[in-house]
Subunit: 483 residues, 2 copies
C-alpha cells in the first residue's frame, strides 16, 4: 500500500494531461457533467477528450465512450462528476486502465458528515493502493494555462500569467479567477482542493515552489495538515518566488465555519502570522487584497528600501497617501535640497516643497513626467506612489451636453479634451530604473489592468490600496535582503 | 465690524441661490471661468445666471455683463474665478450690490505662504466688515441638488440623495461625487471648503445638522478650528442623523502634508477617535469606506442588535464573512433549534446546520428566498449578510462559444441561463421587517447601485466590506439606544 505523500512528479498529468476522460459526461445542461465538459472544450484544450457515459452516442461532436476500455489514445487524467456512490468504482476502473490522476468534482464525501467521511477514507485507501492520486473530492475543478485546460464548474476563462493558486474554497477560488480578468491578474495553474482526501494544500504549495512556470504562489487556506511543513515549504518557496496567502477561519466563528466547510482544523491564526514573519510569506488581510498583492508582485519591481515619494495632483490625496504609507510601515522622508531644487525647476512656485510632492493642480501636462524622472533617478527614493496618472475631466461629455442645449454659439469649440495619460511613461521608467512606481487613478473604483504597446500593468483605485501593496513588496524585498 | 461666526441662515444663498454672478466668465475653455460656468449651465441651474466679464458680449447664448451693476434681476451668489489679486475688489463690488455670499474658487491665498495668508486675512476682514460670507478661497466649488447647482470645477453631475458632504480637500471631494454615481451614493449638498478663510468645516457641519434635506452628513477633515465645537456639533447631529468622517493627517507624514495642503493644524488623531466614541460619530478608515458607509446608511435600516446571520452559497465565503463580522465586533451566534428546524425544511440535508448558513451550492433557486424569510422573522437575528444574491454563471457566454465552434450538434440547446436574482425580494423583506440584509455579490468588484421597481439599494463586492458597513450601522444604532 502506497501511503507516501504525493511526489511533485505526480502533478504533471493534472496540469499537462495528454488526454482526459470525462467520467459523467452528459447532454443535460443541468448536470455538471455537461458544464465541465463544455468548459474544457470551449476553453480550447488541445489533447484528447473522451466523454464517458454508458449511454454512448456523441456529445459536442465528440464520440462518447461507454467505459474506459478501448479509448482511442493515451488518457492520463480523469475528471469525475458522477454521484458519490459510484466514484469508488470509477477510480478502480481508472487504475485498471492506467489512469493515475483524477479530479473528483463530485460532492457528498467528508464535508457531509461521518458517513461521507467513511466513503472518503475508503476512496483514499483504494486510490493509494493502486498508485492513483486525486484532487478533491468536492473540488470545483482545476485550470492550467499551459494546456488550456479549463476543467472548472463555472465557465470562467482566466487570463494567463505566472500566478499559481491553490484554494481550499472553490467559490472563493473561482471568484478570484473571475476578478482577475479585469484586475490584470492571470494564472498559470489553479486548483480548488476540495476536501483534500488525498492531495493537500501543502502538496500543491510544494509543487508550485519547484514549478518553473509559477512565478507567484497564491493560497486561500483554512487549515493545513502540518503547520511545520507549511512553514518549511514557505521558507523554500520564498527563496525564489513570493507566496501570498489569505487565511480563512481567523476568528472563533470563522474557524467553526471552516470546520464545517472544508473539515479543516483551522489551526491558530497566530501560528500563520508567525510563519509569515519567519518565512517571508505575505499575508493578504482581505480577499480584495489577495488580488491586489498578486497584481503588485506581477507588475511592479521590488523596492530596495522603504523610502517612498508620494506624487499627487491634489493635496488631499497626498495626505491620504502619506497616512497610508505610515500605517503600513513605509517612510515618507524629507527630500534632499538637491532634489527639491530639481523639482523647483519643474513645478510652479506654490508647490508643496516637500513629500508628498503636491504638484498643486498645475495645468502643465509635462509636470508629472518631469517630476517622475527627477524622483526615480535619486538614491533617496526607493519607490513612488504616483496619483492621478491619468486625467479624464469628462470635458467632452459636458461640451456635448451644452451642444445639445444649443448653447455653444460663439464659443471656441476646440475645447481641449484635457485627457493626459502618463501610464506608458511610468511603465518605461520602471523598466529602466527597476523601482516601483505604483499608479493610482480614480478613473475606476477597483484595480484595473492597463496595456500599452505590449507592456502591461495594473492601476490602483486608491492611494491606500497602493500603499498597502507597496508595503508588501517592501516586506518581501526586506526578507530577501535579510534585513 | 461683523466678527461673528456665520449663522446657519447665511447658508441659504449658497445652496438655494436665486441668481448667480459668475465673476470671471470666459469663452476660453482653458480657463476655469469657462468650465465652471459651463458646468452650472449644463447642470440645469434654473435661476438667473449672469456671466461677468469686462469684455461683455455673449457666452453660451447668455448676455455677458461688464460689471455687477445693472444686472437684470436678483443675484444673491457670486462664483469667483478671477486671479487672486483682483478678488478683493470683486468682493467689495459684490457687497456694494447687495450680494452677501460668494464661492471663491481662485487659488493663491493662504495655501501659498505668508504673502497669500496676508491677502486672505485682508479678504476675510473686508468681507466681514461688509457682512459678506464666502466659501474658499481655493475651493473646487459647491453642489446643491435642490437648485440643480453645479458650481464645480470638474464636470461631474452627482446623483441626488440626502447626503451632504463637506470636504477639506477638493480633489478627494469631487472624486467621491464621481464614485458615488456608480455606487449609488447621491448628494444633497457638497462643498469643497478650500482654505476656509471665512466659513469653517464646523460651520458646514452645523448647518447640515439643522438642514431638513440632509439625512446623512459626510466629512473629509484634515483639521478643525475647535475640537470642542466639533464634538458639540457631532453630539447634536447624531441625535437625528449619522455623521461619517474620514480623517486626513493621521500620521506624522500625513499631518505635515495636511498643514502644507489646507493649512490645517491637523490636531491629534486620538482626539477625533475619542470624539467619535463620545458622540456616536462614525469614522471611515479609508476613502473607499467613506462611500461604503454612506451607502449603508442610505439604503439599509439600522440593526437593533449585533447578532448577524451569514447566508452563503459557498462555505469559503461564509468563513470569510464570519471572520469579518467578528473582526468588526459583530456576533455570529448559534441558531436556535427552532430556526435550525425551519431551515432544515428548506435546505438539502448536507447544509452546514449552523451560522454561517451554508446553502451548500444547492441548485434550488427557491432556497435563498426561503432561508431569508425564515431568518429575518426571528428575534434572534438582528441583521443578515446575504452573499451570492445574484447568480450569473456566464453559461450563455460559454454556450455561444461552443455554438461558434459548431459543437452543439445533438445538444439540448435549451440551456438554462442559470441567472437568479434575489435583490428585489431582499429589498422587499427589508422594507417589511426593518432589518438590514446587506447584499454581497461578486458580479462586480466595487459597490454597485441597483434599482428595481422604484426601490434602490447598493450591493457590496465582498463580505468584508459588507460586515464593516454592518458594524457601522450597529455602532450608530447602539449609540442611539444608549447602549
Amino acid at each position: 500500500m502506497n501511503t507516501e505523500k504525493p511526489n511533485p512528479s505526480y502533478f504533471d498529468p493534472f496540469f499537462k494531461p495528454k488526454g482526459i476522460a470525462m467520467i459523467g459526461a452528459s447532454s443535460d445542461p443541468n448536470k455538471w457533467g455537461f458544464r465541465v465538459l463544455a468548459n474544457i472544450i470551449a476553453g480550447g484544450f488541445k489533447g484528447l477528450i473522451c466523454p464517458i457515459n454508458p449511454k454512448a452516442g456523441t456529445l459536442f461532436g465528440l464520440k462518447v465512450y461507454p467505459s474506459l476500455k478501448r479509448l482511442p489514445g493515451l488518457v492520463d487524467l480523469a475528471v469525475i462528476t458522477i454521484p458519490a456512490d459510484r466514484v469508488l468504482k470509477a477510480i478502480q476502473e481508472c487504475a485498471e486502465q492506467g489512469i493515475r490522476s483524477a479530479v473528483i468534482i463530485t460532492s457528498g464525501f467528508s464535508e457531509t458528515g461521518p458517513e461521507g467521511q467513511a466513503l472518503e477514507n475508503e476512496l483514499v485507501r483504494m486510490a493509494r493502493e493502486r498508485g492513483l492520486h486525486f484532487i478533491g473530492p468536492n473540488s470545483m475543478g482545476i485550470f492550467s494555462a499551459a494546456s488550456q485546460l479549463h476543467a472548472l464548474m463555472p465557465p470562467i476563462q482566466p487570463l494567463h500569467s505566472g500566478v499559481s493558486f491553490v484554494s481550499q474554497s472553490g467559490n472563493v477560488g473561482v471568484q478570484m479567477l473571475a476578478w482577475g480578468i479585469e484586475r490584470g491578474v492571470g494564472f498559470s495553474k489553479f486548483v480548488s482542493s476540495g476536501t483534500e482526501g488525498d492531495i493537500h494544500c501543502e502538496d500543491y504549495l510544494e509543487y508550485f515552489t519547484t514549478d518553473p512556470d509559477t512565478k507567484i504562489i497564491l493560497a486561500y487556506i483554512e487549515g493545513v495538515e502540518s503547520g511545520r511543513r507549511f512553514l518549511e515549504i514557505g521558507q523554500k518557496a520564498t527563496q525564489t518566488k513570493p507566496l501570498i496567502f489569505f487565511k480563512g477561519g481567523k476568528s472563533d466563528a470563522g474557524s467553526k465555519a471552516a470546520q464545517s466547510h472544508s473539515g479543516a482544523l483551522a489551526g491558530r491564526y497566530s501560528l500563520y502570522k508567525a510563519a509569515s514573519r519567519q518565512a517571508g510569506i505575505i499575508e493578504a488581510e482581505t480577499t480584495d487584497s489577495l488580488l491586489d498583492y498578486a497584481a503588485a508582485f506581477l507588475y511592479y519591481p521590488l523596492p530596495r528600501g522603504n523610502k517612498i515619494a508620494v506624487l499627487t495632483r491634489g493635496g488631499g490625496w497626498g495626505v491620504v497617501a502619506a497616512d497610508a504609507c505610515r500605517e503600513w510601515g513605509l517612510e515618507v522622508p524629507l527630500l534632499s535640497d538637491r532634489l527639491l531644487q530639481k523639482l523647483n525647476r519643474v513645478l510652479p512656485p506654490y508647490w508643496s516643497h516637500g513629500n508628498p510632492i503636491d504638484m498643486a493642480a498645475t495645468l502643465n501636462p509635462e509636470a508629472m513626467p518631469m517630476c517622475l524622472e527627477a524622483l526615480i533617478q535619486e538614491e533617496e527614493v526607493d519607490g513612488i506612489i504616483a496619483q492621478g496618472v491619468e486625467v479624464r475631466l469628462r470635458g467632452p461629455m459636458m461640451i456635448e451636453r451644452l451642444r445639445k442645449m444649443n448653447l455653444l454659439d460663439g464659443i471656441n469649440r476646440e475645447v481641449i479634451a484635457d485627457e493626459h495619460e502618463h501610464i506608458p511613461l511610468i511603465m518605461e521608467l520602471m523598466a529602466a530604473y527597476k523601482k516601483p512606481v505604483i499608479m493610482v487613478s480614480g478613473v475606476s473604483s477597483s484595480p484595473r489592468a492597463v496595456s500599452y504597446s505590449g507592456r502591461e500593468s495594473v492601476v490602483f483605485p486608491t492611494p491606500e490600496r497602493a500603499a498597502r501593496a507597496m508595503a508588501k513588496l517592501w516586506q518581501y524585498s526586506r526578507y530577501l535582503q535579510g534585513l
